[in-house]
């Protein structure tokens, strides 16, 4: 074997504390190393060209680059050696930046360590062999989970790009949080006027299949070939027939149940269509409150329905779909502000959330767009907005900024003035975070043109006085305590991970971060990919986002999916397990432990049971390799011999001239 070694200076990032020429010189003494050099930036164009030239001139059949972490540039260099005519797996990296130069201060120690890491890489490379990916076809269909604005955008973009789309939504209608909003910042345009047409497009697009009231039951398969089972929850209405006429809603005698679409500010009938623009516009029965389903009596809706589509016997239904890629757009939930004792924990009806306020502002809301406070229906005069309720607060385990609360509070202050010209808004804030196109201008308008009184400080308590609420807080700029007599208090609640995200994450093998939001593949360079190939993220499920950011990410995820499915075939990573059949005794331990069902039992030509790996299903974890006592199943590129060679490079066995 002829190995070339390239030691990267990474400017002064490595060379600052590692003697790169010395490392390169030492590498020449390693077995099979025929060429070694140091280079300023191995990943730069001249750096890569240098590698390619050396491969050709020196007839190298393997390359070691000692530079940054392979998590950064392994792919870059693999492509480079491929351009030079080598197999991409005839390449190894030694991480002498993150693991050496950046964490050790002493040049001498670092240099020795770098030399040893290069030696390890050389020993591993000596045992590498070219690996050829298998090619497989993909299912040209996309699953989008979640019908909020991010999911809608992703579904439409995928469908417009020519792929079939299955969009599933847990609630009765798509639209998500945005459908509940009155106006959007910073343009103050009507939210449903912006979103509505897109929702209609979903319903009408020939390539989109929409399942509302549906959740992911199970996920099998792998990129290009996922097998999804969807649970369609019983709605007790035959949606194939229902035309959304709404007669049943009017006649339903049981309408005491809080209306979740209106944030429980009012009640809804037990058979309901959540809002006039709902997509699909179909009625569904709430089995918790329906008299027929809970007590067995009533049945009025079935009587009045002109199309006879009520079916009290309906059961959940499981639907199987095969898809090539999955976009997760499950959104977020609002922080439960009851964790704060100082806001009365629900004792005072006139303390509401920003989303409830949004419904009060909305013309389609419970008050028809009139701002009336819940306790007595009076129009408020003094309205206090409290920001950072469940954001940037370690005490409730929400140290992160939810990002959009500053903006929607400003919007609500502006709308308040529009609705009630005599009103006065007070905003308690910690900092104003308004980076975004026209955002800061917008908050300034709220203060300067609409006269919202911004107080920098937290609220320590709210208590009722007569029919008002006394809001006491600190004004940290004035250094005083302030008390405001409020008629209504609006809490700008932050975003948190959606309920059920963890369970969905387990099914999709997408990790949650410490707060429950899904983790992207790389925070900067792969913001919509996940560590599971073929699964992408869009919108606030990955972290709090406002509408334009969610829409952008929806489009970005769609672009990724379209790119993936535009290929006729996909390549599977050839670094998968491989069975050395003569060694296999057919005990099936590997089959038992494989988390992916990627190993099956086959019979050899004598009828003996043997294990066989399904290349495209195998994810390359190597659990099986450790399970197999005879080492018959080896994970390619991380074989026992390759890892043992690394161990032995670090801990060489003693050699004796005489064993007697």
């Amino acid at each position: 074997m002829r190995i070339g070694v390239f030691i990267c200076h990474c400017g002064s990032n490595i060379a600052g504390t590692v003697d790169c020429p010395k490392v390169a010189a030492k590498a020449l003494t390693y077995p099979d190393v025929v060429f070694s050099t140091d280079t300023m930036y191995a990943c730069s164009e001249p750096g890569q060209d240098g590698i390619i030239a050396a491969v050709k001139e020196q007839q190298l059949d393997g390359v070691v680059v000692a530079s940054c972490t392979p998590r950064m540039h392994e792919q870059t260099f693999r492509r480079a050696v491929e351009r030079a005519g080598l197999n991409r797996y005839m390449f190894e990296m030694a991480n002498i930046r993150e693991h050496v130069s950046w964490i050790g201060k002493i040049m001498e120690d670092n240099t020795i360590k770098a030399q040893e890491l290069v030696r390890m890489a050389v020993e591993k490379l000596r045992r590498n062999r070219p690996l050829i990916p298998k090619r497989f076809e993909t299912v040209k269909r996309v699953l989008v989970i979640g019908g909020g604005v991010a999911g809608i955008q992703a579904a439409l973009d995928c469908a417009d790009g020519g792929q079939e789309v299955v969009l599933i939504e847990r609630e009765q209608s798509i639209g998500g949080k945005m459908a509940k909003l009155d106006k959007t910042f910073p343009t103050v345009d009507c939210s449903s006027c912006v979103l509505g047409p897109k929702m209609v497009d979903i319903a009408q697009h020939p390539k989109i299949t929409l399942y509302a009231c549906a959740e992911v039951e199970s996920v099998g398969g792998y990129v290009g070939n996922f097998h999804i089972t969807i649970r369609r929850k019983a709605t007790y209405v035959d949606w194939n027939v229902c035309n959304g006429c709404g007669l049943c809603l009017e006649k339903c005698p049981s309408h005491k149940h809080p209306d979740p679409f209106n944030e429980n500010l009012c009640t809804a009938p037990s058979i309901n269509i959540p809002f006039p623009q709902a997509i699909p516009k179909k009625a569904a029965i709430n089995p918790q409150s329906c008299l027929k389903l809970t007590q067995g009596k009533c049945g009025i809706c079935a009587t009045v329905c002109p199309l006879k589509c009520i079916d009290y016997e309906q059961k959940d239904e499981l639907v199987d779909v095969d898809v090539g890629a999955v976009i997760v757009a499950t959104g977020y939930d609002l922080f439960d502000w009851h964790k704060y004792p100082q806001y009365g924990q629900g004792r005072y009806p006139d303390i509401i959330t920003s989303m409830q306020y949004e419904r009060l502002l909305s013309a389609s809301g419970p008050t028809g767009g009139q701002i009336k406070r819940p306790s007595d229906g009076k129009e408020p005069k003094n309205i206090v907005f409290i920001q950072c309720v469940g954001s940037r607060d370690r005490s409730v385990d929400r140290p992160y900024c939810s990002g959009f609360c500053c903006m929607y509070t400003a919007k609500q202050a502006i709308l308040t003035k529009d609705h009630l010209p005599d009103s006065q808004s007070f905003v308690f804030y910690m900092d104003i975070r308004s980076p975004g196109k026209l955002y800061d201008e917008f908050t300034r308008r709220a203060m300067e043109e609409y006269g919202a009184h911004y107080v920098r400080g937290r609220v320590s308590m709210i208590y009722p006085q007569d029919d008002k609420l006394l809001v006491r807080g600190a004004d940290t700029l004035a250094g005083t305590q302030v008390e405001v007599q409020a008629d209504l208090v609006v809490l700008a609640v932050g975003a948190e991970a959606a309920a059920g995200a963890a369970q969905l994450g387990e099914k999709l093998r997408v990790c949650p971060d410490q707060y429950g939001f899904f983790v992207e593949s790389h925070p900067k360079l792969k913001p919509v990919e996940t560590n599971t190939a073929g699964v992408y993220l869009a919108g606030a499920c990955q972290g709090p986002k406002d509408i334009p950011a969610s829409v952008s990410q929806g489009s970005a995820a769609a672009a990724k999916v379209l790119g993936l499915l535009s290929k006729k075939e996909l390549e599977s990573d050839p670094a998968v397990a491989r069975v050395n059949q003569p060694r296999c005794v057919g005990c099936g331990k590997c089959i038992q432990t494989c988390p992916f069902g990627a190993i099956k039992e086959v019979a050899d030509r004598f009828g003996n049971p043997k294990a066989e790996v399904i290349d495209t299903v195998c994810q390359g974890c190597g659990i099986c390799t450790v399970t197999c006592p005879q080492g018959a199943i080896q994970l390619e590129h991380f074989t026992d011999n390759q890892i043992l060679a690394e161990v032995q490079a670090l801990c060489p066995p003693k050699i004796f001239a005489n064993y007697e």
Binding site: T29, P653, F656, Y659, E660
Partner: protein, 341 residues
């Protein structure tokens, strides 16, 4: 004939250990094996026959053949042949050990091939042998041309008489050693020794006649049913071959350790599946029946065919005694000899 007390024999062994690499039966953890002797150790010549034979005197379990080293200044690896150094003396071998040693000669020293490592050890080793005064139920040396007081391959033959040994020098080198002042004249103890030899042989009973074995075993060569029955209880381990004074098969392995590499020779084991495993994956001896057939056939048929009728067995019985499942090579050869068509 000379005589040496037990105490003086230990002192002699200690003295010799400064000149020779002395191998002697030493007790450890309930067993006795031949080990490198150092002053301070005690000899255990009698409690039992050493579990492992003295074969390692001429064919060690592991020996280095070559060393390959890379050094910083010079890119080219340096290659060194590692020939054995010094002389070896085996103290307290049994006659079967000494005879076993002789059976390796025709293999390692031929007209075409002269194994330098073996020859060096063979020419630089001395065997001080202890005649057996009591056979074991597994012993059959008298059936393979040897006996409890066989002198073949020995330089000195010791016979336990009273609290010491009668020493009979066999070779010139042996003669030189018995001139040491620790030795006294044997006087009439010589006769007592002779009587002991006779008594031991008598206890062994009638010797078995193996002369028909080579042909009879060959007759069974293709009869795998026969071998499957014979090998049924064999578990394919290497206890028999590693204990055996006459098994000489070896393996050569290159240990690629990167900066330093080594070529070593180690005992191989014909009971192992890997013994004749070919690079293609094919194995001409895929089952334990094939392999046991080879072992028995080699000792009692193929070897005698090649080397003038001598069995490649010294009758020490270690393979029987140490076999975890009691496979008895005598029974297998008998079965072949007595096989009725």
């Amino acid at each position: 004939m000379k005589y040496i007390t037990k105490k003086n024999l230990l002192r002699l062994t200690e003295e010799l250990s400064s000149v020779y690499r002395v191998l002697a039966p030493v007790a450890q953890g309930g067993t006795v094996t031949f080990r490198r002797f150092h002053p301070g150790m005690t000899l255990d010549m009698h409690s039992r026959m050493a579990a492992v034979s003295a074969k390692m005197a001429t064919l060690p379990q592991t020996e280095s053949l070559l060393l390959v080293q890379r050094v910083e200044e010079n890119k080219k690896p340096e290659l060194t042949e590692t020939l054995p150094q010094g002389k070896t003396l085996v103290m307290g071998a049994r006659p079967c050990d000494a005879r076993g040693k002789l059976l390796l000669d025709p293999v390692f020293i031929t007209e075409k091939i002269r194994d330098q490592h073996f020859i060096h050890r063979r020419e630089n080793s001395i065997f001080i042998t202890l005649a057996c005064d009591q056979p074991e139920t597994t012993c059959f040396c008298h059936s393979v041309g040897s006996g409890p007081a066989d002198t073949a391959g020995s330089d000195i033959l010791l016979t336990l008489v009273g609290e010491g040994y009668v020493a009979q020098a066999i070779s010139d080198q042996g003669q030189e050693i018995v001139t040491h002042s620790f030795f006294e004249d044997a006087q009439d103890r010589g006769q007592q020794a002779q009587a002991k030899h006779g008594h031991a042989l008598e206890l062994m009973g009638q010797a078995h006649d193996y002369s028909s074995a080579p042909a009879k075993i060959l007759e069974r060569f293709d009869d795998m049913d026969f071998w499957e029955v014979q090998s049924a209880k064999c578990i394919s381990c290497g206890a028999c071959t590693y204990m055996c004074p006459t098994c000489y098969c070896f393996n050569i392995t290159d240990n690629d350790l990167g900066l330093t590499s080594q070529r070593i020779r180690t005992w191989d084991n014909c009971m192992s599946h890997t013994f004749t495993l070919e690079a293609s994956g094919h194995n001409p001896r895929p089952t334990k029946a094939h392999r046991l057939k080879n072992r028995v056939g080699h000792k009692f048929s193929y070897y005698p065919d090649l080397y003038g009728g001598i069995m490649a067995c010294c009758g020490c019985g270690r393979c029987i005694k140490q076999c975890p499942t009691g496979v008895d090579i005598r029974q297998i050869v008998n079965a072949a000899q007595e096989y009725a068509q």
